[in-house]
Symmetry: T
Subunit: 145 residues, 12 copies
């Protein structure tokens, strides 16, 4: 079983970006945490980040047949991208939406996710640990197919 972790725009700045909101952990740190947990569970992962909406779409399209589950932190595109939503539906790979911060406690436009209705579930607000919880969740989702 393999999981594709997709990280949207500005997540490459984690650790230095608004630490009061996003914490001091870098994206590399998070990848290490995810890798450690997934190794324990015997699951392979791939970890990517892009600032381009279209590149994220490309990667979702490529996931078909190569990954059992997608975990996506779409960052700012979460609230505006019909295109990511369409890609998730088009490829049919079960997808989990995650966020580092509790988006529901922030600006009102962050309360709406265009991809939420086409994902299996959401894990929101547990900081870097949202990613670690997502590894377990992905195993569950994969098992329930």
């Amino acid at each position: 079983m393999k999981i594709l972790f997709l990280n949207g725009p500005n997540l490459n700045l984690l650790g230095q970006r608004e630490p009061a909101v996003y914490g001091h952990t870098t994206l590399a740190d998070i990848e290490a945490m995810v890798r450690e947990r997934s190794t324990k569970l015997g699951v392979g992962i791939e970890f990517r980040q892009s600032n381009l909406e279209g590149e994220l779409v490309n990667w979702i399209q490529d996931a078909k047949g190569k990954f059992e589950v997608i975990v996506i932190n779409a960052a700012g595109y979460t609230h505006t991208s019909v295109v990511l939503r369409d890609a998730i539906v088009a490829v049919g790979v079960p997808t989990i939406e995650i966020h580092i911060s509790n988006v529901h406690a922030r600006e009102e436009f962050r309360h709406v996710s265009l991809i939420a209705p086409v994902c299996r579930g959401q894990i929101v607000g547990f900081g870097a640990n949202s990613y670690v919880l997502a590894v377990e969740a992905a195993v569950i989702v994969n098992g329930s197919k």
Copy 2:
């Protein structure tokens, strides 16, 4: 460390209630799953269900000093209860919001949660496993205090 699991209205019907949406697992099954996982992690739990908004408020108030984390599936009250929100803020016990189904893929009024902004995070859409993931999340939340 002790976790209080609160279950809102109609969750006592799990297993027989709209199985296409909520699955065939009963609330007792879920409690067993939660107990198994929490025992492994050396964490105590208490599991309660009520159809009364006021009784849920009472239980949140009682949690102070007795539980480190509250995990709440507020069911139908999620979308209408200012009172549960106020209770969570008033007692200050870190709280995690969970849902069995992916509420974002259902009726529009289920997309808004009045308690989300005052919880630490949300785990949504993983069926009965939302509860199991919440045990891990609770340990994380407790560790980050």
Copy 3:
């Protein structure tokens, strides 16, 4: 065949409560009218009233297997209660929504019913006779199952 009549908050004050809107008939008078009609039709009834949302939920849950049809005047909860809606769906007993006054001719917030979409039908605005008409309607609904 048995019908469960559920009366929501403040309906215990009928007869003395805003007679210009609700008339001078008391809830006991209405129960008598309902009983007379249902006896004629060979149908059993049970008549309950509560001011607590959770108690109404409990009663809806209890109806399963004991009553063929629920007739509910949810009063003020009609416009705010996701919980009653969920209960009606969860138990699957065919339900008829009734109102004494013509809610569509009153304040705007009374024009929306959260339970209407999950009931079989509505009988609205015929005063105490909304209950009597509901006995006939319940027999029809039961016959068409």
Copy 4:
């Protein structure tokens, strides 16, 4: 006592029109059912159908002094016609609004009725039997004048 039954646009197609929503009963069948019940109650009826908004207005205007109660299924005009509303108020004949399907469980624009606030009451969702229940309701409304 005489009741005028007015049927709005497309109701002449009943029986063949979307049977999943409206059933297999034709408008002629319904008229027969209504006639049977009204004969039992010693009440005269007249039954008309038109696809023209203005013709329905004409018939409402003509009802004055000839009918004690109007029962109207305004179909698609229910949600858009200020003109029918004005006619009902202008003639002052007590009017009952009925629908075959549960309009509250369908498209959102069907949840609003422009004529509801000026009718005495509504009977909604009981299929062809909405008409039969309306005969009884009309007798009640006439008695309470």
Copy 5:
């Protein structure tokens, strides 16, 4: 003359609940302040608190004939309860709405009160002293009947 003071959900936590918003005075302290002022004015009081919407409805219903004025701090139910509104109208006892904090300076959903239109007046934002001012206001309201 007797005044019934009704306190809604979470007000039993006053003193320890969000002191920056609600201050350090407990509900018992407030009751003492109210009692002192009302004694001076020769007025009897009764002081109750409940987390249950339905129990508050019960108490409003019981007030008829026993109390001249109701003073209610409906807390979180202020913004969502049609049922409390209906109860106040149904019993006809003049009612005063009070709040400890300035609700208009807080979250937007706290700016709307469902009970305000059926109360005589509002006293908002004076901390524990909102209760004391309400004693005087109740005497005025009672005198102007």
Copy 6:
């Protein structure tokens, strides 16, 4: 110079229709008043009434080349008819909108007129005299072409 007076649905009931709102003057009385004033001003008039939206459209279309000005009281169609608006624009005959009652003091849906933006002006709220004032206004509009 000739003026076409068009009267929309239910205006044929004037005099008996809601006299508190529309007064006791009949449409025939109004026609006489209009005829008297227009005779004085040396202006010809034609006076028509219909309950059918399409017939009003027909009459507007026919006005081209036969009438210099149209005066229209579109009654209930004022608030819903794109079709009347399109007809007025299509024929290009200057049109004046009138109302007997002050529509801005009535239900909110009467505050919006779909034809107002394509008329030259409005005369609203002067009872039967709105028609008389419109004769003068029509002469002015015709003179300013």
Copy 7:
């Protein structure tokens, strides 16, 4: 009988202000036209203009007992002034609202008038002649008291 004509802000610029919208007639020209018509009808008039909301309020208050009818072109205050509305209601002098341009064919915020519901009627869109028609309308309004 005396009529008070009140002109709101920027109307002193008529003749030079946006002639495409407001024409080339100055406010002095309009006053002359009004005076000519009112003299014919044996009616006295007074004509005032101010850019200050509060001064217009003062003049409305002063009208009581001195003028039988107020004719007001509130210009930009039409759409924002609760204060003018309250003044009109407070003094009880019948008031007619007029506009030079067809406000319904302009920006959307000009479609709403806060004073319309408390005026007797409106005359809108006839250029300077809106004032002349208002003289006749004022006589009618005065006669129907």
Copy 8:
């Protein structure tokens, strides 16, 4: 194969009606263009126009069994008619919506079509050629049944 072309209100004025928007082609010209193209494709057509909503409903109802496809330019009724929508669904004849002008570049109320969701497709903005393209589209729709 036969196609029914339905033309809504004011389309009989084409050629003289707002030529900047609708062009100089008359409805007769368009019928000739349509007839030429359909003859080439071996398809029969019928071409009708009415200003009455109810007559358009009648014609849609009559199409059943006589026409394979309906092409409708509902003109002003496009944006307001639930009744046309219901008729299209009721008869089940595949229907294509067309417009001469680009409705999305005009007033906001023209951006919403009540019939669009129940038609097979839309052809909008190609002037008189929208009709000609619709002949081809009708053949495609008929072939894909």
Copy 9:
């Protein structure tokens, strides 16, 4: 300690203005009532009224250093004036908002107060006694600084 009482537009008409809403007490009567109560409490007052928004702003600005508390009945400006709100914040003198009538039981636009969020509290609906209660409230507010 000195309190500045500011009265907005049309309050100078109290006693003769809509007595059903505002009562028969004049503003002079109210000033006398306030003076009596404040004398008892050893507090100085100043009482002003203006119909001009800008003059009320001037007075608020002047209050700095001369008055400990402002009590303002902004009347019609309550619902529209950003400028009064800014003035209250700019000078920093604690301010209490009062209203004679229960604004929440009147037109919807009166339910919103632009100054409420920047005042300490509100006293609403107690008729002329709202002013008297405000004297006590001002003393409390001053004591809690």
Copy 10:
């Protein structure tokens, strides 16, 4: 004459993507159909697809002087992209908007097109044949320049 066909995100998945909505035809199949029809009409075409909003903008900019007409299926960007709209206006090449599915029968956010007001027309809902009809439409648009 040359036509540029632009295909937005996820259209490269046609044939395997949600066949119930989009059919089994691949984008290559569609290109072949388009090429066949355009060859018959003596028109050159170019066919491109991209998942990147910015690349679509680049291609629209490049069209100037090389293509007479653009046909665009902007897919998910249809509903969110101001940037595509601006590009279409900036280059001034006549543009036709097409969609495979009937977007008006799907989720509400698909009912709004940001590019529709700046295109010449729309062809929507005819499956792969929307592209073929667009070839004919492009010839018409080019001829009417």
Copy 11:
């Protein structure tokens, strides 16, 4: 060339008013800064402040023929004044809107400016330097006439 600087309500308090938002510079300081820059550029200025909406209107009207450009900080009237907007359009003197604070980062009602659409441009958020930048902008605007 002469520039008229208009300052709206409460700007006379600059320096002492909410220094966290508006800084410590007084209006006199700003006038000195503006005068220094305009002297360098050979431009005359006049600097005025008023708390009265009507006086600002008067000053805008007076600017015609005396000033080449108006620079206005309308403060709280920015968001509510149709009257200032009308004055700017009526006199036709090119106008620049400025703000000291970044209004888009403050309360939502400050995000809308009624005068923005009729001004040439806006300079917002640069503190006292918004005024200095406006001198340069005014020279540019004057040069481009």
Copy 12:
């Protein structure tokens, strides 16, 4: 000190794109104007343009430590891009928003800027000179850090 000028989509077409809105100056002309002014002020600049949202994000991220101020004309992305907003906050380089045209005088969707709340200020509507003014503004912003 160095300033990064970022230009969003379609700005590379300046000079030929809608000259009535954007003028005849090309982006190269503007860069020359900016360079001339910044050279005078001893400030370095870099000038970039991209049609890709993600590339603009990349450039904002790269600015950290290399540029003291960013000046951004985000063009069409201004109104839709959460991602640019997040990037500006994440890097913490002070940013100024500029526009060539007065966006507040154009389509309504151009009135909202998602990046405005996180920029220091805005300069809008001065044509190519918005860029030149931004050089001065950038120096001011840099000096006030």
